[in-house]
Symmetry: C2
Subunit: 183 residues, 2 copies
DNA sequence: GTGTGCATGTAAGGAGTTACATGATTGC
DNA sequence: GCAATCATGTAACTCCTTACATGCACAC
């Protein structure tokens, strides 16, 4: 059975207390969507696959008329997760930033407009950072097993610091551009 | 005609002097693959589409028995590129980092192993940074229209600074972990 | 009683990758 | 002569997203 990253994401979320597909998706949105986005249409088939492969067990957890599944890690599932966490193999970091691509070609614009675009991008960084505090990454620990998890917070801190760094860097470059313009 | 990011990448590369599909791919590998990867199997069909849509003109640039096309921007193509560079609309930044996803679940490992994984990730950052100087982003300006482009270098500087920042941040966290372990 | 959230799934389609197929030129 | 690079394309496949389809529970 071939395991991909989405498999480990699901195993991890189950490991830390998200039992239903819906709950996994919610925890993933809050906690990991910034560096590994998912959709429900991926989660449900993958849950079935992992159950079939013996890494998860599905229990019925229906309440009244509303059906709900509760998944649990098997020993094999736990082992697979730990082996992945320890293994050095990984898919290369891939990023798609249309903003940076525009930056790459910014020489095609006159300097005044370069500055306008840059300031707008900088503003966007600030917005993203604020959105982070609208309860994203930090809320994730709560969404799953509160208190037991340190790393969602650590990653949140890193994200915040990286955004600050980017904001500052852009600000400095913008100042340089402004200085060039006033010559 | 619907234009996607790959369309603008190609228009931009043509604008700055890459005339053949092969050359576009090479310039994209060196210059933009870090934030917008592409493959030849995307470039060739898209070149045909853009030509059909009147944004590019295809000239024959064969040398002897080896066929080669040389593309040129039409006025509409140039306008489309500039409009895109100016427009505030953009696809949201998407990133897929399996490394960060692992970090998110690192609480499942004992602290000693957390540290091993962290140090390995940190080492990887260093390697990526070195690879950058094996002539990637900075060489891109050369690969296309040398001297005319400032931003490939600017983005290279940013990338370098961001990697340094990440390396430092990880180092500090690693030290904290070490301190906790020696308690 | 109505909207929001909880809950599970499927279908269709888009974007992008790897692999395949072919051949010329250039430098060693 | 042979390997690496230049050069153009197509086919098959994978991954992932959006849209569709359905229904219960709870709070206002």
């Amino acid at each position: 059975m071939k395991l991909r990253t989405i498999s480990f994401l699901i195993l991890g979320m189950v490991r830390f207390g998200a039992t239903s597909g819906y709950a996994i998706k919610k925890a993933a949105d809050a906690g990991t969507s910034a560096f590994w986005p998912t959709s429900l249409a991926q989660v449900y088939p993958e849950l079935a696959r992992l159950t079939e492969g013996g890494l998860l067990i599905r229990h019925d957890d229906s309440k009244g008329g509303r059906s709900r599944a509760a998944y649990e890690l098997t020993e094999a599932g736990e082992e697979a997760l730990l082996a992945w966490l320890r293994s050095p193999v990984e898919t290369p970091l891939q990023m798609r930033s249309e903003g940076m691509l525009r930056g790459f070609f910014a020489d095609a614009l006159p300097k005044e407009e370069q500055l306008v675009v840059l300031r707008r991008q900088q503003e966007r960084i600030r917005e993203v950072k604020e959105h982070l505090f609208d309860g994203d990454l930090r809320a994730a620990a709560k969404a799953i097993d509160a208190g037991e998890m340190r790393y969602p917070i650590v990653l949140g801190d890193f994200g915040e610091a990286a955004l600050d760094f980017t904001y500052e860097w852009m600000g400095q470059f913008a100042e340089q551009l402004e200085a060039e313009l006033s010559d």
